[in-house]
Structures are given as structure tokens and as C-alpha cells.
């Protein structure tokens, strides 16, 4: 084959063509394929990042459902406690309740008054009331039996303090004073 003799103009065209070719290649990678590839990476990352969050959300929903099922058991005590607390102001029902209780135990006279309220941050929705129960004339054994019955029958009551004094007039009788803490709804 005969050698091709290139003229000056042809060489210029050739150089220009080569430059144009490289320019196009550069543009192709930098302006088309590059951004597309970056966008693809970003989308892939987003999909991958959303995966654990979706799993976590699903687990959260499942956990809540499971807890809801178990709530019937775990909140049994709260329901029982709420059922044990009568409706209305405690000042209205507590003294009557105590009088009736001690009457049932054979102690005719019981004077109950509210001494105050104790803060209790650990029991939200509830408060602890402090009551003084004065039993002016009791015999020790019936009194001890009444205390035992009170502690067994009333789980929301706690005797915080007690004072028993022997009566000088009546050897058999004592004067007892109980300080009771009672959990009631707020």
C-alpha cells in the first residue's frame, strides 16, 4: 500500500479529531456516566440504610403487640388495686370503712382522722394518705387479731406506727392509736 501523504490541513483536522474524540470520551464519563453512577450509589446506600430501619420498625411493632398481649397479666395487680379503692373522696369512705372493719372485729369505737398526705413519686396516679385511728378501749388480744385481719384483708393499708397504753382505770383495756398509710387514686 502506498504511504498516505498528509497535508497540513489534514494533519490539523486529524489533531482536531483526536482532541474532539478525547473530549467526547471525557464528557461521556464525567457528565453522563459519572453522575449516573454516583446517583446509583446514593440510591443503593439509601436502600441499604432503610433496611435496618424498616426491620427495627417491624420489631418495634411486634414488641408492642406482644406487650399488649402480656399487659393483661402484667397489669393484673394495677387492676386489682384499682378495684380495691372505692370511688369518691377518701375522707368520705375511709373513716366509715375503718369503723365498720373494727366493729366487725369486736371493737366498737374507732375514731379515724386524716393526718396528711405523703408524696410518692414511684406511684404515678396514686397518692399515700396518712390516717390516725384511735381505739380508746381495746383488749390486747382482740386488738392483735384485728391488726392481723387488717393486714391480711387490706393490702393497700400499712400500719406505719402504733401506740398502746395500758389504762389505769380498767386493767383489761388498753388505749391504742394506729397510724395507717393508705394508697388511693389521685
Amino acid at each position: 500500500m502506498k504511504d498516505i501523504q498528509l497535508g497540513k490541513e489534514e494533519i490539523q483536522k486529524l489533531v482536531l479529531g483526536v482532541l474532539l474524540f478525547f473530549g467526547l470520551i471525557y464528557s461521556y464519563f464525567d457528565l453522563l456516566l459519572g453522575p449516573l453512577s454516583k446517583h446509583q450509589d446514593a440510591v443503593r446506600l439509601s436502600i441499604v440504610a432503610l433496611g435496618p430501619e424498616i426491620d427495627s420498625d417491624k420489631a418495634q411493632i411486634a414488641r408492642a403487640k406482644q406487650m399488649e398481649k402480656e399487659a393483661l397479666i402484667t397489669q393484673k395487680t394495677t387492676r386489682q388495686v384499682n378495684a380495691m379503692i372505692p370511688e369518691g373522696s377518701p375522707v368520705a369512705w375511709f373513716p366509715t370503712h375503718m369503723t365498720e372493719f373494727f366493729k366487725k372485729q369486736g371493737i366498737d369505737k374507732a375514731l379515724t382522722r386524716m393526718n396528711g398526705e405523703l408524696p410518692d413519686k414511684e406511684l404515678p396516679g396514686y397518692r399515700k394518705l396518712v390516717w390516725g385511728v384511735d381505739l380508746p378501749k381495746v383488749e390486747f388480744v382482740p386488738f392483735a387479731e384485728a391488726v392481723s385481719a387488717l393486714e391480711n384483708e387490706e393490702p393497700l393499708f400499712e400500719i406505719a406506727a402504733m401506740q398502746i397504753d395500758a389504762s389505769r382505770e380498767d386493767v383489761e383495756a388498753q388505749h391504742a392509736l394506729l397510724t395507717l398509710n393508705n394508697i388511693v387514686r389521685q
Binding site: M1, I4, G17, F21, Y28, L32, L33, L36, S37, H39, Q40, V43, R44, S46, I47, L50, G51, E53, I54, S56, D57, K58, Q60, I61, R63, A64, K65, M67, E68, A71, T74, Q75, K76, T77, T78, V81, E122, L123, P124, Y126, F140, V141, F143, A144, V147, S148, E151, P155, L156, E158, I159, A160, A161, M162, Q163, I164, D165, A166, T179, I183
Partner: protein
């Protein structure tokens, strides 16, 4: 040898030159490269479209689940709180200090030579329940102080079985001025005040300082 003349050699050469034209070949090669690049780009575009569709689907799932998960979290928090409250209420009821056994023990421990004139007690503390009892009384006998001492030690011994860190100390022990009739005999008396401290609860309380009297 016969002479053969190719009168078209110039035409043939021109045709061959035209066929092997570097510009034409370059255009073909470049066109092929361009087609490949375009094809690859289209392939990537389709990929991108699929990925975007995936992302849209996943994001849709996430957007649907997120409010449910937030509501579930709130519900879980509320249920946890209610569960804690339930446990706390149960703990309160179970960790109450029971006075009836204390009274029962005292009834059994007090001998007939002793008369209790006053008894008081209070309970303090939440996890460790500290109970302080004061027992005032009158003891009678040939040695009334010994009777009172026996009561004090028996209280400490008996309560130590059930309660922790029990201390039983005399706050006061004095000879009485009165005498009493017991079993047909006049007996001297002593007045006493016993201070009893005992602990219940899960945690171990700090060891109390023992007082000697």
C-alpha cells in the same frame, strides 16, 4: 509469457484506496465505540430506573411503617410504665411491715411477772424497713431486774430468728417503789423501758452500733 495489460488499474487502485480510507474506518470505529457507550449508558439508565423504583417501594414501606412504629413506641412506653407501676404496687404490698407477728411474739414472750404499761413502734424506710419498738413495763419477782433482763434477751433472741440486725437495749431500768402481790407473796418491782430495733427488707442494712447497758 503473454503480456497482460490492466487498463483499469487506476480505477481499481482508486477503489481500493477508497475502501481502505482511514477516515472512513475511523468513523466506523468511532461509531462502534459511540454505540457501545450509548448502549452502556442506556443499560445504566435502566438500572437506575430499577433502583429508583426499589427505593420508592422501600421508602413507601418505611413511610407506612414509621408512624405505626412511633405509635407502637408510645404504646410500649405507656405499657412499660404501667407494668412498672404494677410491679411497684405489688412490691409495696409485699414489702409491708406486718405488726401482727410482732404482737403475737410479744404476747408469747411476756411472762406473768411482767406487765407492759406502754408499747409503741414505728416503721421507717422504703426498701429496708426499720422498725423501732419501745416497750415500757413493770417487772416483779424476787429479782425484778433479772426478770426484765430475761424479757429483753428473749425479745432479742426470738426476733433475731425472723428479722435482721435485731438489737434490744434497755433505755431505762430502775427499782420500783411499789410492791405487788404475786402468788400470795409481796414482790418488789422494777420499771423498765426496752428499745428494740429490727430490720426487714431485701437489702442488707448497715450494721447498727450496739449499745451496752
Amino acid at each position: 509469457m503473454a503480456l497482460r495489460l490492466n487498463l483499469y488499474h487506476e480505477v481499481i487502485k482508486a477503489k481500493a484506496l477508497k475502501r481502505r480510507d482511514p477516515l472512513k474506518i475511523s468513523i466506523y470505529v468511532l461509531s462502534a465505540i459511540a454505540a457501545l457507550c450509548a448502549g452502556w449508558y442506556l443499560f445504566q439508565l435502566v438500572n437506575m430506573h430499577n433502583l429508583t423504583a426499589d427505593l420508592k417501594r422501600v421508602k413507601g414501606d418505611y413511610d407506612k411503617l414509621e408512624p405505626l412504629a412511633k405509635a407502637a413506641k408510645k404504646q410500649e412506653d405507656a405499657l412499660t410504665q404501667q407494668g412498672k407501676l404494677s410491679v411497684q404496687l405489688e412490691k409495696r404490698m409485699e414489702s409491708r411491715f406486718y405488726w401482727a407477728p410482732v404482737l403475737a411474739e410479744i404476747m408469747q414472750l411476756v411472762p406473768r411477772e411482767v406487765q407492759i404499761t406502754r408499747m409503741g413502734g414505728d416503721v421507717t424506710g422504703d426498701t429496708i424497713r426499720r422498725c423501732t419498738l419501745t416497750i415500757d413495763g413493770l417487772s416483779a419477782g424476787t429479782d425484778p431486774r433479772k426478770v426484765a433482763e430475761d424479757l429483753r434477751t428473749s425479745i432479742a433472741d426470738k426476733f433475731s430468728v425472723k428479722y435482721k440486725n435485731v438489737t434490744s437495749t434497755f433505755k431505762m431500768l430502775e427499782d420500783g417503789t411499789e410492791t405487788v402481790m404475786l402468788d400470795g407473796k409481796q414482790m418488789s418491782t422494777a420499771t423498765f423501758a426496752i428499745n428494740v430495733q429490727l430490720y426487714t427488707g431485701d437489702d442488707k442494712p448497715a450494721a447498727p452500733v450496739r449499745k451496752k447497758k
